[in-house]
């Protein structure tokens, strides 16, 4: 089995049938990933710029990347609706956190309890199945009936979106704990509370962390949808910026806000992946 690593490498080599030579392709492959990616991104930006300038595309339809960049920079101090960039970003983050926190507070304990106490699983699972196929954003109208059109309704939509992956992953995480671990703990004299907190929970933690990551990602998606659909009551949030751009025919604002959402979404994803790795530090 120690030959395994060499074997795996051999297999990977085998995908490229031709032997390695000093071709241009090999030279590019040897470049650091960051260099390759940056060059290609510049290339795509140039394509975007070229298409806009060459075909004289209207600014209301598709501004060139420099216009978008200028718009993003101006957003830093120039208010749209309730305020400038930080106001909107902060409003979005706060909403996301309310919905996400509620999903954790209900999803994690419920998932644990369902995995540990089977009748509860049988009681909850049918209800869960009943609601599973409703897209989170379809809750927006009821959320607005219940909470009024504003932040609370948006947070509720985020909650419905984050809740399912958190519950399912917690539940599966505990269920998938190797039963031999539990048997081993039992033969060592552990009681059921000890087993829950010292064996099942730590072993399930990586799954829980995965659930949180997926929940945050789907929550982020729901947040933007909620700000666009259920945002009539509030005048802030990144989704509001996108919508404003469309309604005022400012494509640079719409695209600029989309870029900001993409960047913020990536930052959130990277940070929670780092945290996830912490949770699972004892895995390879």
């Amino acid at each position: 089995m120690a030959d395994g690593s060499a074997e795996a490498r051999a297999g990977r080599l085998s995908i490229e049938a031709a032997p390695k030579g000093a071709t241009l392709g090999d030279w590019i492959e040897a470049l650091p990933n960051a260099v390759r990616v940056s060059v290609m991104l510049l290339f795509w930006l140039a394509v975007w710029y070229g298409v806009v300038e060459l075909f004289n595309v209207s600014k209301d339809f598709l501004p060139n990347p420099i216009d978008v960049l200028i718009r993003i920079v101006r957003l830093a101090w120039e208010p749209v609706g309730a305020g400038a960039l930080l106001t909107h970003a902060w409003a979005s983050i706060v909403r996301l956190m309310w919905g996400f926190a509620a999903a954790i507070l209900i999803g994690v304990p419920l998932g644990l309890a369902m995995a540990y106490y089977r009748p509860l699983q049988w009681l909850v699972a049918p209800l869960f199945e009943l609601f599973r196929y409703i897209p989170p954003i379809a809750w927006a109208p009821f959320a607005m009936f219940w909470f009024g059109a504003g932040s609370a309704a948006q947070a509720y939509v985020i909650f419905t979106s984050s809740f399912a992956p958190i519950l399912i992953n917690t539940f599966r995480g505990v269920q998938l704990v190797d039963s031999r671990l539990i048997d081993a703990a039992r033969t060592l004299g552990a009681k059921s509370w000890t087993i829950l907190f010292e064996v099942a929970l730590p072993a399930a933690l990586p799954h829980v962390a995965t659930g949180l990551r997926i929940g945050l990602a789907t929550g982020w998606m729901a947040l933007i949808a909620a700000e666009i659909v259920a945002g009539t009551g509030s005048r802030d949030g990144l989704g509001y910026l996108i919508l404003q751009g469309q309604q005022q025919l400012h494509a640079d604002l719409t695209i600029g806000a989309m870029v900001l959402i993409g960047i913020l979404g990536s930052l959130i994803d990277v940070s929670i992946r780092t945290a996830e790795r912490r949770f699972a530090y004892w895995r390879d």
């Binding site: 089995m1 120690a2 030959d3 060499a6 074997e7 490498r9 051999a10 080599l13």
Partner: protein, 264 residues
């Protein structure tokens, strides 16, 4: 006996995360035509690397490997390889797995069916033609993998620990089966194993390799010890009781053991 496979000064290194790993160093060897050659050695000694190089899956940076006088440059059915984990195509039935090599090498359909029928009979899996690999036991899957290579009538058959994933009983049965199948065509076989017993039972010659970087430590001529009628034609559990078998096994195990460092 003429030379079939020859290794000239073969060196191989891998660029690993923790620096370069020297897998093989100046490996020189000649394999005879129709010889059953078994290679043993400590884990990580480059046995598998040697087999993959022989299969033409990649090229050694220095040195040459010649098959029938021509340098090996790319993989092909004249040097088919059988892996430990069977590597059957899970989406193809037994019949279609065996058919794959014949079809892509442009054999006409009628001849293919004949050949498939022949090897399925040879491995004793009549009636399983339309089963998928997951419906077969490990031993049956490995029979199919052997048949898939064997049907192409390879000049050389390369086997990378083919029975390591089987339980002890099945392993014994498969060793005897392999001898029977092999004797119908007698290709040159290069066989890698961790089991010294298996090596002594099957081989014409056994190569013991040193630990990394792998070189030939010693070559043991089993055919000479096993006599005119090689003991591999007899039942395994009878052979294993023979004194000369036992002596040979101890001797080879001693050689392998001296290469296994405690820290591995």
């Amino acid at each position: 006996m003429q030379n079939d496979l020859s290794y000239e000064n073969v060196t191989m290194r891998f660029e690993g995360r923790s620096g370069a790993v020297q897998a093989l160093e100046r490996f020189d060897f000649q394999v005879n035509s129709s010889e059953f050659l078994v290679i043993v050695g400590p884990s990580g000694c480059g046995k598998s690397t040697l087999l993959h190089l022989t299969a033409g899956l990649y090229k050694p940076p220095t040195g040459r490997i010649l098959l029938g006088g021509a340098e090996i440059k790319e993989p092909g059915p004249d040097k088919a390889i059988v892996f430990q984990n069977f590597s059957l195509f899970p989406w193809k039935t037994v019949h279609d797995n065996i058919d794959f090599g014949l079809r892509i090498n442009g054999i006409p359909a009628t001849e293919r069916e004949e050949q498939i029928k022949r090897v399925i009979h040879l491995i004793g899996l009549e009636g399983f033609e339309n089963h998928y690999p997951r419906q077969l036991s490990g031993g049956m899957q490995q029979r199919v993998a052997i048949a898939r290579s064997f049907v192409l009538k390879p000049r050389t058959l390369l086997m990378d620990e083919p029975f390591a994933a089987l339980d002890a009983q099945n392993r014994q049965i498969m060793q005897e089966e392999l001898v029977r199948i092999w004797q119908t065509q007698r290709p040159t076989v290069l066989f890698i194993t961790h089991s010294v017993e298996e090596a002594v039972f099957l081989a014409d010659r056994v190569i013991v390799m040193t630990r990394r970087p792998g070189r030939v430590k010693e070559v043991i001529d089993i055919a000479q010890i096993a006599g005119e009628n090689h003991w591999r034609s007899d039942p395994f559990d009878e052979v294993i009781r023979r004194a000369d078998f036992q002596d040979t096994r101890s001797r080879i195990w001693g050689l392998v053991k001296s290469e296994i460092s405690v820290r591995n």
